[in-house]
Structure formats: structure tokens, C-alpha cells
Amino acid sequence: MTFTIPRRTILKGIGAAGLGTIIPGAIRPLHAASVAPITVVINQSPWFESFRKTVEAYEAETGNKVELDVNPFAGSLEKQRNSVRASEGQYDVLIMNSGWFTEMYAGGFVEAITDIDPGFKLDPDVYTLGDTIYYNAEKKSVTNDGKLMSIPVSPLIPMLYYRGDLYKEAGLSAPKTFAELEANARKLHNPPEMYGIVQRGARGPHTVAYDFYPYLYGMGGGIFKDQSAGDYSVTLNSTEGKEALDYYIRLAKEAGHPKTAASDQAEVIQAMVTGHSAHIMMVIAAWSQMDDPNKSAIVDKVEWAPPPSAPGLPTAPGLGHWLAGISKNVPDDRKRAAVEFLRWFQTKAAQLETAKAGGIPVNAAVYKEPIAEERKYRWMKPLAEALPHAVNIYQFPEASEVIAVLEVGLNRAVAGEVPSADALNGMSDEIEKIMAGHSYKTGKLDPIK
């Protein structure tokens, strides 16, 4: 049996194919190729909605498909571990928190972006956030002499939220030092109607420890002597460490909320938006809730400032940022598709979309745009001021073990179960044991009294 196609039909087909190629090109921008659909695993955070809207903008602009798998904080980590440890991964892009990105780098689960596409260029205005987007596998360090492993998704750091209206009434100015913060908090403390400050003192996956970092580092303390130099000697129970913890507890007891030891992020935000707190130290991602009339009783009344510090020291917010890395165990076409998404995501234009959607831009150029002058985005300038001083708290993959120790120890101190010195000495002993167990160069200070 012979099978023939009339010449006219062939010509029609060629014509249709040609049009099919030209027309989509004409209605779609040419800077992004059509690539395989990708799946992103992400957590449900205050900034998630802005990420979702940014992804929708990417899909609309390029025609590429991105599926989001949204989880609670701890659930996201578990899903990522399960995926990257399988023979073939379920997720192409991993949205990794500052508490676990090194685990993914060091475990060999994330492929360097420049290994997938050697021509990939990081936008020079993108924040490198303590160089946490790089990893040097030979030195096992998070330093910029390593490969580009990820792109920042949300440059989260804690900022001081304070009630501008109350400050104006009381003739106060934004605190730069801890002494000023304490004085202002005490002045505005009028419980149960108004608490001077509400702190995030509950025990959780990364709760009270994260709340404590700006105090610890802002007073000149720290957890380790010098991580970048590979010296993991524990310095938590230094004089500065004790001063910071005593201050944190005093603030809670004398100008804070009586249930500080049980307050998590949601409750702290709730205290602020319901108008019962004069200050909170909170990740900047919560800014959009402050001015949302459906969620807030204090619309347009909140102002922002970098976290205070001790005189002579810079502000020192702990990085609680999120990074997007590409799984090693997914097919090559999906890796390339993931690179295309990240290439688009880091641009100023995409980050402007993020800002308008309530997110925090990772591109410094956005902070110089007219948008930063608008009243709605009044948090941008203080954030841009604080970001260069952000501290990368952990540079090793076993960070989750140290965080677990801090969560219990700090929470016990805040709850009044143990004195601050005992809590610090106990935590230091445990952290030193953990670091020694993983063969890091470590040591500890003499117990503090």
C-alpha cells in the first residue's frame, strides 16, 4: 500500500509550521527560551505570597511553567532531604534556609549554577549575603572563592519595628543602641494594653535563637571564635554573651510580655498588628502585614530601623535568608530550566515585581529606585542600611544540631528555669561536644559566673 501526501497539503503544513514558530516568538519576549517545566519546593512564610506572584509574572512573561510545592518550615527541609537523597529528585529548585543550606552544599546535593551553565553571570547588584551563595568544596567553606551554588530568594534579616506614632507623641527618636531601646521600651510599657517590646522567646525549630542573634552579635559576642578561619572554639559564654542574654531577659521581664518564653513568630506579629506592642524585632518579611488593613490595627503607624547595637559596634542582624539552589539529581533539561528561572529572578525588573508584591528584593538596584521613596516602602532604606552588616551565623552543615541546643538552653533561661550563666555554660559545653564529634577544631572558654 502506498501513502501519498498532496503537494498542496505539504506546503500548507510548512506554512503552518513556519507561522507556529514565528507567532509565539512575536507575542513572547525572546530573552527567555521555552524550557521544561520545573518544580520548586518552598516553605509557607510571610514572604511566600510575594514569591508566588513573582513566579506568576515569570510564567506570564516567558510561558515557562513553574510548580510550587508549599510546606511548613520544618516540613520543607524534610521534603528536600527526601528528594535530594533519592535516585532522582522530585524537586528541581530547593528554597533553602540559612539554617540548612550548608548541609545541602556540603552533602553534594546542590549543583553549582555555573556548572550547569558556564555562561551564567550573577547580577552585580545581587546581595551575596555573607557570600552564602558560594561554596568551596575543597576548603569546605562558604567563601567567594568557591562556585556559585545559589541565588538569594529573600534576604531576610531581623529589623526593629517600632510604633512611629507613639514615638512622635513621646518625643522619642529611633534607637541606635541597646540602652536607647531599653529606655524607649520602658517608657512605652503599659501592660496589658501596651507592652514595651514583645520578643520571640519560644522554643522552636529556629525561634528564640534567631531572635537572640542581633542582641548577641550586636553586643560583640558570638557563638564561635572565627568560622571563616576554621576556628570553631565556642565563645558563647563570653562576658559579651552573658551581657546580651541578661539584657534580653531583663527586657522581657521588665518591659516585655509575660509569656515571652512561649511566644513564637506568629504571636509576636499578632501583638504588633493588634496594637499591643511598641517594638518587635522581626524579620523584615512581615512588613506587608503591618499596613494591611485586613490584618492590622496600626496601618501606617510602624517605622523600621536596623537592630540596635552596643556603642561603637555596628548593627549585627543574623541572616535568616533563603537561597534557591538546583538539585543535582534531576534531569539536565530541568536543571537548565531552573537556571533560566534564576537568571530571570535575579534581575532588577523581576525584583521590582517582588517588592510590589510585598516581598524583599535581593537586588540592590531596586533600593535606589523611586519606589524606595514611597511611604509604603519606608522599610527599604533602613533595610539597605542594615544588610551589609548582616552576620552569617553558621558556616557548617551540622548547624541544626547547634540550633537545637540553643533553642532549649535559651528558652530555659528566658523561662527562668536556669540562671543565664548556667544556661550559657551548659550550651557551650554541648556545642563544643558537637563540634568535636564532627572533628572541627574547637575548644571552649572557662565557665562564666
Binding site: 552533602g107 553534594g108 496589658p192 518564653a261 512561649a262 543535582k328 544540631e401 523561662a415
Partner: protein, 314 residues
């Protein structure tokens, strides 16, 4: 020759009842064909995972280049359990939680079952009302009680305020956090005890009670000398069930306190979750899991042997 004698008489060499042998082989084959899949399923789904858990408990698991490396750790993980402060806090709190919560549930559940068993009209209505908490998902229970116990606007503190008492931080205070979780668990699981006790009470022989009435027994004597002794097997089974389940408590603690403040509501399942999943210590977490399985099995054996001693049949 009797049948028993015949079975004791050895078969003569060389003489075989081929029909019986074939029947026996057929029965054996049939038995394996029907039992085999269930056995294979049990081995695959229960025995192998536990064996793997047991093996992992003697190893360290690390990851590099996307691949796991297992190294022999011997008994170090089991030794480490004794110096793990979180584990010892979890063990103590779990014991307190399990015995206190189960005791409360048993007493309340028995009282409710006894009351409902005496009701002649509307028994179905009361039964439906009483079992409501057990039908509510754990996550909803967490939300309900977190709101109820909230310091600022919780119903409990509002009620205290109405009688002139100061509000209390139920979940944030080390003194009351574990008690609060126990109360929530009692509220959640009392219906389970109630249902089992009610089923037990409804199957008790009525002639004994009628005879007691004719002999002039009071309600108290009836309860003490007839109902309770007859209910002992049900009570022990309910206690064993609930104790094992209470020992595995996780959701209520996770949702209400996350083990805090400090370690005041740390329970074994939560410690296990922390070490195994959050900290990703597969070897140590496996050793802890084996220890918990051993403890739960021990509790079950003690409860079942107590039941056997009462002379109850299954």
C-alpha cells in the same frame, strides 16, 4: 485399639498411607498459599524496617557527593542515650504524662460510661456528645486549646478574670505547661476509654446484678463487689491500649508547646523527632527509636501479664 493408642503406635516400616500423606501435603500447601502472602507482607512492612532500624542504630550515617556513607559505631549511640539530657527529660516527662493522663481518662471514662449505661432514654445522644473530642483531628485540637489557653484573650484567663483572678501563662510557664498538655490529652482521649468501658458494661451478665438486688446490695456495693471485678479485664485492656498510645504522644506537644518552655513538656517522641529528623542523626535517632520500642513493648508485656494474672481470657 483406641484412637489415642493408634496415634501412639508407630507405623510399620514400608507401609504408608499414601492417601493421608497426599491429603497432609495438600493441606500444608494450602496453608502456606493462604498464609504466605500475609507473612511476606508482615516481613516486608514490619520486620525488615525494624531490622534496618536496629542495624542503623549501630552505625553513623553521613552524606557526601549525594551518597550516604555508613560507618560502624558499635554501642556508642546507646551509651550516648544515658548522657542525653533531652532524652532523660523526655523519658521522665513521658512517664509522668502517660500515667497522669491515662489515670484521668480511665476514671472519667469509667464514670461517664457508668452514668450512660444507667440511662434508659437518650443514650445514643449522650454517647454521640461524649465521643465528639475523639473525632476532632489533632491539629484542630491544638488550635482550639492554644486559643483557650492564650494568655491575652484565652477563654480560661477570661473566666479567671471574671472571678477577679489574675491571668496565667498556662503554656509558657514551666510549672503549668505539662499539666496543661495532660488536661488537653485527657479531654481528647477520655471518649476512647468511655467507649470501651461502655461496651464492657453492656455485656456484663444481668442475672448477677438481679441476684445482688434481691440480696439487698446497695448501689455502692454493686459497683465495688460486682461491676469492678467483672470489668477488670476491660479495664486492663483499656489501660494497656491508652498507656501505649500516651507513651507515643507527639501532636499535642508539638502543637501546643514544642517541648518548651525549656524541657518542661519534652516527651520521648518529640526528642526522637528532634534528633532523628531536625538534626538528621540517623544512627543516634535509630538507637533512640529502638529504646522507645523496647520501653513500649515492656509496658505492653507488663499490662498483658497483669491481665493474664486476673484469669481473664482473650
Amino acid at each position: 485399639m483406641t484412637a489415642s493408642q493408634a496415634s501412639l503406635t508407630p507405623a510399620r516400616p514400608g507401609v504408608r498411607d499414601s492417601h493421608k500423606v497426599m491429603e497432609g501435603d495438600g493441606q500444608r500447601l494450602w496453608r502456606w498459599l493462604t498464609f504466605g502472602p500475609a507473612l511476606a507482607m508482615m516481613v516486608a512492612l514490619t520486620v525488615l524496617p525494624i531490622a534496618n532500624l536496629f542495624l542503623t542504630s549501630f552505625q553513623n550515617v553521613t552524606w557526601a557527593d549525594g551518597k550516604p556513607t555508613r560507618t560502624w559505631a558499635g554501642l556508642t549511640h546507646y551509651e550516648a542515650l544515658f548522657s542525653d539530657q533531652l532524652f532523660s527529660a523526655g523519658l521522665w516527662n513521658t512517664l509522668v504524662f502517660a500515667f497522669a493522663a491515662v489515670a484521668g481518662q480511665m476514671v472519667l471514662g469509667f464514670a461517664m460510661a457508668l452514668a450512660v449505661s444507667k440511662i434508659t432514654h437518650g443514650r445514643v445522644f449522650y454517647r454521640a456528645i461524649f465521643i465528639l473530642p475523639i473525632l476532632i483531628p489533632g491539629i484542630v485540637i491544638g488550635a482550639i486549646w492554644k486559643l483557650m489557653l492564650n494568655f491575652d484573650f484565652g477563654l480560661i484567663n477570661k473566666a479567671l478574670g471574671l472571678v477577679g483572678l489574675m491571668p496565667h501563662d498556662w503554656l509558657g510557664s514551666s510549672e503549668t505547661a505539662l499539666l496543661s498538655v495532660i488536661i488537653v490529652d485527657i479531654w481528647h482521649w477520655t471518649p476512647f476509654c468511655f467507649l470501651l468501658f461502655l461496651a464492657g458494661l453492656e455485656t456484663l451478665p444481668q442475672d448477677v446484678f438481679e441476684a445482688a438486688k434481691m440480696d439487698g446490695a446497695s448501689a455502692w456495693q454493686e459497683l465495688w463487689y460486682i461491676t469492678l471485678p467483672l470489668m477488670i479485664p476491660t479495664i486492663i485492656v483499656t489501660f494497656a491500649f491508652r498507656l501505649v498510645l500516651a507513651f507515643k504522644v507527639f501532636d499535642e506537644v508539638y502543637l501546643l508547646t514544642s517541648g518548651g518552655p525549656g524541657t518542661s513538656t519534652e516527651v520521648l517522641s518529640f526528642t526522637l523527632y528532634q534528633r532523628f529528623f531536625t538534626e538528621d542523626k540517623a544512627g543516634y535517632g535509630s538507637a533512640m527509636s529502638v529504646a522507645v520500642i523496647f520501653l513500649v513493648a515492656l509496658l505492653l508485656v507488663i499490662a498483658l501479664s497483669a491481665r493474664r494474672r486476673t484469669g481473664a481470657t482473650s
